[in-house]
Symmetry: D2
Subunit: 333 residues, 4 copies
């Protein structure tokens, strides 16, 4: 029983299944043509890619529902420059504002997904804990309300292994009672690509589908399931270890093949290796931990703290009129 | 706005409003007569008092709804003897079992009330985090179920000042989705009596009414509001500072009057002092903190941890057939 | 044995024994005359009082060793205005700079006293964890040094009940090995006065004498014991409960006597009450917790965090040339 | 500067440099012959291997100083069976007792190495926080001493990047003041082998050499440096990511070569690949994180907690006469 509990507890959402677009595939969208629009924005420090899936044809081509998928890449974020931090907060706020189409007094519910007991999965709960919460003042002390804010509430529902309750059911119950005009769901993701870990923020206005796997009947957080629009914010904080080994191995084999030359015997032999079998071999080598082993920077604790503040700032600035670009860190809980 | 936020955040439930009976008034119940039954049980180490309010006449006399109110006093708990700890776990389990009248496969929802960011208020969340959670295994992995457990789920909804959402609304939403047969709500309480702080466990099968005050429209957690029976477990962890000063002063004045003698001038003068005015004076002296100042043992952090384990053990033993008196600490999360 | 452990663990330093001067007695210094100089500075938001004990005559009168004792009162700090926070950081930095007389490349050791497991006592460890630490870069990567910093190191030695080792012995060992030019020791204090709790920063250039009591052979942190100058920074975070009750009672009795009028019988009777006996009575009433019960704001956790950042900013600005008044929160660890 | 700080902060000790023997090489010791003794003990659940390096010839062969190196492998520890946990505590205690040759009233200093802010590196500090500390009672309250204990003290010195002070210098200062008869140093290790992560406890009576690298002048914790015997306890909690990829790749290439057959062209070509170049390629692919990326189980937070309790139990049982095999978890702080 213990094993099951642990498996469930640590099942993070897969980046591709959640907000998806991602840096890897971005380059390719240009050529997709009909039903898909791609915009580049930002600069060398903060790169923004917006992919718009406009119609069923686009959906079919990209394999994602109609909607907008935005990736904010901040390759230099690890340097911890204060200026870049503040700029990133502002850019995130701006991108969020572009996705939010509700009245300025409408209520917003911020949902922090993930397990607060697992460092790399605690991003969502930390953001929910840090955003400025104001809804109770509107409800219980309406005379004290600062008119340039909006009602915002926030919750961290925990994960199935901690609560025994499907996250989607908890959120559905709250949405039915609170009736927000918008849900913003924040989650830590498992990425395929080490280079994106802790340096890429992904937004989508199509909601979020919690990781499948063991509990694969899980309720998605989408407009369909909740009845209100859902914006997802995700940051990859880990890479699955088997995936990382496998991808690295592919790169090395590609490099070997290139060195060997196209016509050579070695090239031919390497190209005959079945990459699925190879992945299976890796999975076996990483047993008994397979499925639970992840790759992270050693100082994940500190980085997740830092990124949660960045995201909370972006949300605060996007939601409240009176919180502006100069207010980085000033209204964190 | 800041002040309001803080006021709301730190508003703990008042012991008398919640589970109520309490050590102070217990002595008196004996004489109440009709509609009230009082039982004493346990021994010198673990004293148990059960007050049963049986009918409207009893309700009127005690000022509490029909139901059972149990107080477990453990005066020596501060000594941290392992034997007393284990005995207390078992006694709590036994008292809980007497209050639980559901089928052995029915689902139970454990609710940890209170603010996990405030040491003295974190009892509920710590218990919710520690109890054995099994419902997800019944739901998603039915073949893995250990048949001697029952489905248990657990949630810490936070407090109004953290989430911006009424606790009762969060719980109501979850109960509607999960449909448990019983809710067990655990909360830290503010007591009137320093001697009860961290040494008395209070149970009631009538549910729990979160502190009134600022947000006084708050939803109670009772059978009426949730549609299922609610057992409350509370432990006083603080005393309001103004109350403590006022009560101590009363005791001192009583002692002075006794010394002065009944017929003396001093007795007469002291007895003329208006005790309400005196309380008002204390409130003013304790400004600007009034309402927020509490009295606690310095090592509250450690004690609340300890007590939360004790309560979680009691709940585990009471809910699962396969967890017995010998299993203290063995099934804590 | 358990009881002893707990008694020792939670023994916080007494404000009067440590940095001392304090707001209450400040008013009186003016009249002390010879050997004592008093300066007032700051404004209504941040009030600064500097008491200089200049010679043995002053020592005798004030009951404190020759040195400077500075109190920074910030009565409005509870309002959490960002502007006041930043101003307080700068004022603290300025007062510290006035006390520091070492070369700008000399090494400084920051010592965070107190018990990180006890919320109200965790101020020192939190400051030590937050200040910018640079000494290791000077030692191991001299080429990477930013020339506008100085070598700073920081340690939290824990408390006797956690380590089993006298704090002074740990610090002495480190000072002997590291040979700093200055020690800055930060500690949470127990105050006599509720109004000063969490709103007054106290500095002294005479070092710090850890609380007496159980372990009364404790080594002081002073120039005499360590061989280098020691600046103490203290903030009262709790009031001893018995003291608070006793002082409140005195105020109430004074008020009663005033109302009764000087010549009245009641006045005479009240004035005959032995205030020491009264204190003894309070101690007994607060048993079995006596000595451990403290009065704090309920949200101590959050306040101590906030104040530790304030102090760390002040220290950073005072110690490093390149950290200026605009850099509030920018160089916290 | 930031980058340097982070590099230093997260530099964990390398398993092979610390306690060394390890499961991988164990198999080989049998054949080493002169100067080396190997004993196998325990059973299938708890496997014990003791390697004794007896003389300079043995030192030369094994590449480790004269001393005893014990590995306790507990492959099933991830299953979290309570029985296996208790058995492991007892086996660790027994192995420790075999290494401890001091009088039963001699003082022991437990040192918890590592960074409490980095989940996988917090094992040492958690153990130091959990062991029963008694020395202060012997010093300050000799009448309260329980005669069946010994004086034990404990410290977590932090890491260079947090304190700016060499760990060895802090410990040296404390040892000089406290004069223990023995130091037990506990540390989390970086392993080469995924299978050993969190499932192998390594002991050595030769002390511990903190990781080299950036701060490579670091003081070892050995009898030579401290003047008292030092027992090291280490548990691998991470695998360096580049190492893991490289080792996995080697295994895959070995497997490919085997499949291709000894005489084949493919075998020849694969065997010509320079494995050092390959490692270099991996390092580059894992940039910009290289050196900081680690592989861990996702639930490291919970596992490190669990293992720290296991180790603290083992130490408590080994050090105090009155703590026996039945007292698992009963004397944890």
């Amino acid at each position: 029983m213990e094993k099951i509990r642990r498996t469930i507890r640590t099942d993070m959402a897969d980046e591709s299944r959640v907000v998806g677009a991602g840096a890897r595939t971005r380059e390719n969208y240009g050529g997709f043509g009909e039903g898909i629009g791609v915009e580049k924005d930002g600069d060398n420090e903060v790169l923004i890619t917006r992919v718009h899936v406009n119609n069923p044809e686009g959906e079919r081509r990209v394999g994602k529902p109609i909607g907008s998928y935005i990736t904010i890449d901040i390759p230099g974020i690890h340097g911890r420059s204060r200026d870049l931090y503040e700029k990133s907060c502002r850019m995130l706020a701006r991108e969020l504002e572009r996705l939010i189409h509700i009245d300025k007094k409408d209520t917003v519910l911020v949902v922090g997904l993930g397990n607060w007991n697992v460092t790399a999965d605690a991003l969502g709960p930390k953001v929910a804990q840090s955003v400025l919460v104001t809804r109770h003042i509107y409800e219980y002390l309406p005379k004290e309300v600062d008119n340039t804010t909006r009602p915002v509430c926030a919750i961290s529902p925990g994960v199935l292994g901690i609560t025994g309750i499907e996250t989607g059911h908890i959120i559905k119950g709250i949405v039915d009672n609170v009736k927000p005009a918008l849900v913003i769901a924040v989650d830590a993701l498992a990425s395929r690509d080490v280079r994106r870990v802790n340096s890429s923020i992904q937004l989508a206005n199509t909601g979020i589908a919690p990781g499948s796997g063991v509990g694969n009947k899980r309720l998605a957080l989408t407009r369909e399931s909740l009845g209100v629009p859902v914006i997802a914010i995700g940051i990859p904080t880990v890479v699955d270890a088997a995936t990382m080994v496998s991808d690295t191995l592919d790169l090395i084999m590609d490099s070997m093949m290139q060195q060997a030359g196209h016509g050579s015997d070695f090239y031919r032999m390497l190209s005959r290796i079945n990459r699925d079998e190879k992945y299976q071999m890796i999975i076996e080598l990483l047993e008994p931990y397979s499925g639970n082993l992840v790759v992270t920077p050693k100082d994940t604790d500190e980085i997740v703290d830092y990124l949660s503040r960045l995201v909370a700032n972006g949300i605060n600035m996007a939601l409240h009129e009176n919180i502006g670009p100069k207010d980085v860190d000033r209204f964190l809980h």
